[in-house]
């Protein structure tokens, strides 16, 4: 299938399909604070635990993530122009390994020395890298913003792969720097998109993410511990913390959407799985909180009917429905009872949008979108 990364997609399903080609597990686009990077790290860690990764790969991936995040925060500019301000970070999981990507603006004057440094590190054999590392350590020469390429050397050594990079010109003064590091446990499968679009993965994903105004992307297992880390990460983004009332409403809706997946989502291979999708997008002062998960086809009609009904009600009717629903006695294990959608509709003050993507004969991928104007 031909992948084009031009422009905005007309549906969330289409955007998700494209990002899926790059086996995207996590992406964040925006301002990076130290607090946020800690939350991103915590999410990556719980996620690898939930995915039962080996300790060996976990340690390597963790190290690469730390280095990549440090590169973003260290070189993050201070400007009103979001193309210069926003950093980008992504994690891609493919068969046999991970790819960690980052992006940030740099001044054009820095392109040459940075490229030389990267090329130098990439040209060395394992033994030569070891020697070079000793040399740099004893020389003690640190670059202005800290680090003397030591991080880069360690990244090549730990990942076992060459570092890949690219620049995209923004204007006469600045360019966007794309950087990616692949951590492989075994030989990746040849048909993997990661392999096909080898050095352009981060650039392509960054383009799709920015053109569709995505702030956060996560796809994985929505087990309780993962949901907790995901929520904490989303709460830590500057985008949400700027306005108090907006943050409260957004986080409250996020809680309902995420719990909805961990309670009700169908698994693909077994019933313990909770595969799902979470995205935050921002279009012209409307924040969209988006989740996706599989639902058994036998339950689709009831779900759609419920959402349509909630959408059809005016303020008084929805308030009445809230009170009726809360008094319903349901002591079953599945505890939603439909109060979640009512709450989302009331708090967002907008209709809940739904997209359906047929998956198998008995399951459908359901995308739910709550929009909050601010």
């Amino acid at each position: 299938m031909q992948i084009t990364n031009s422009g905005k997609y007309s549906s969330i399903a289409e955007l998700f399909r494209v990002l899926n080609h790059y086996q995207l597990n996590y992406a964040y686009n925006g301002d990076f604070t130290n607090d946020l990077t800690e939350r991103i790290l915590a999410l990556a860690e719980t996620n690898m635990d939930v995915e039962s990764e080996s300790l060996k790969i976990k340690k390597k991936v963790y190290f690469i993530i730390v280095e990549s995040l440090q590169n973003i925060t260290r070189h993050q500019g201070s400007s009103k122009d979001s193309r210069l301000m926003d950093g980008f970070f992504s994690i891609h999981k493919f068969l046999g390994g991970y790819l960690v990507g980052s992006g940030n603006a740099i001044e054009n004057d820095h392109i040459k020395p940075l490229s030389e440094k990267l090329d130098r590190v990439n040209s060395l054999s394992a033994d030569e890298l070891k020697e070079y590392q000793k040399e740099v350590l004893s020389a003690g020469g640190f670059s202005e913003k800290g680090g003397a390429g030591l991080g880069l050397i360690e990244m090549v050594r730990k990942s076992g792969n060459k570092l890949q990079y690219d620049f995209d010109k923004i204007d006469d003064k600045n360019s966007y720097f794309y950087f990616q590091s692949k951590i492989t446990d075994a030989q990746p499968q040849e048909n993997s998109e990661i392999e096909k679009h080898n050095h352009e993965v981060v650039k392509s994903v960054h383009r799709a993410v920015t053109e569709n105004n995505l702030k956060i992307f996560f796809q994985g297992q929505f087990k309780h511990e993962n949901v907790r880390s995901l929520l904490s990460m989303a709460e830590g983004s500057i985008y949400l913390t700027e306005k108090f009332g907006f943050k409260k409403t957004s986080v409250a809706i996020m809680i309902e959407l995420l719990q909805n997946i961990s309670y009700h989502a169908a698994g693909i291979n077994n019933s313990d799985e909770r595969p799902g999708l979470f995205m935050v997008a921002d279009n012209n002062n409307v924040c969209s909180l988006i989740t996706g998960n599989y639902v058994e086809n036998s339950k689709i009609d009831a779900l759609i009917k419920k959402i349509d009904f909630v959408n059809s009600l005016d303020n008084d009717a929805i308030e009445k429905l809230y009170l009726e629903t809360i008094m319903l006695d349901n002591n079953e294990v599945k505890q939603g009872a439909g109060l979640g959608f009512i709450d989302i509709r009331i708090k967002s003050k907008n209709k809940i949008e739904v997209e359906m993507v047929p998956y198998t004969d008995d399951k459908t991928f359901i995308i739910i979108k709550a929009n909050i104007s601010y």
């Binding site: 309780h224 108090f244 009332g245 409260k248 719990q259 809360i326 505890q335 709450d343 708090k347």
Partner: protein, 123 residues
């Protein structure tokens, strides 16, 4: 009955139930994996208290965030205090963070389902 004293976690609330003093406080975040399971011992504690309640009972809620599945359980608990109100003095305070309109409205909705008058405090 011993004091029920639970520290808050990232997704569980801080709980202080003292039947001796007639104090029932829940605060912070209530986002448990299973709200029915989490609230069951709390509701049992209140039920036990109702057998020999104090003349004055003070109930204080101050949620930072509350999931709808928790709200349902909190409602169950409030209805127990509403029952107690028929014979004893019960003060129920619904506190919320400054500017947290959503939380104020949640409290107002629950109040409608009782015969009590909640005291709303923006703190």
């Amino acid at each position: 009955m011993a004091i029920l004293d639970l520290d808050a976690t990232e997704d569980l609330p801080c709980v202080l139930f003292d039947n001796d003093k007639g104090i029932f406080e829940i605060s912070k975040r209530s986002l448990p994996e299973n709200a029915i399971l989490f609230y069951e011992p709390l509701i049992n504690y209140v039920n036990e208290y109702l057998r020999s309640p104090k003349d004055n009972t003070n109930v204080v809620f101050h949620f930072d965030y509350i999931s709808t599945s928790s709200t349902k359980q909190i409602m169950k608990m409030i209805l127990l205090f509403d029952q107690l109100k028929q014979t004893k003095q019960v003060n129920l305070s619904w506190n919320y963070d400054k500017g947290d309109v959503d939380m104020l409205q949640t409290g107002k909705r629950l109040e409608q389902l009782t015969s009590m008058k909640f005291v709303f405090n923006e703190v």
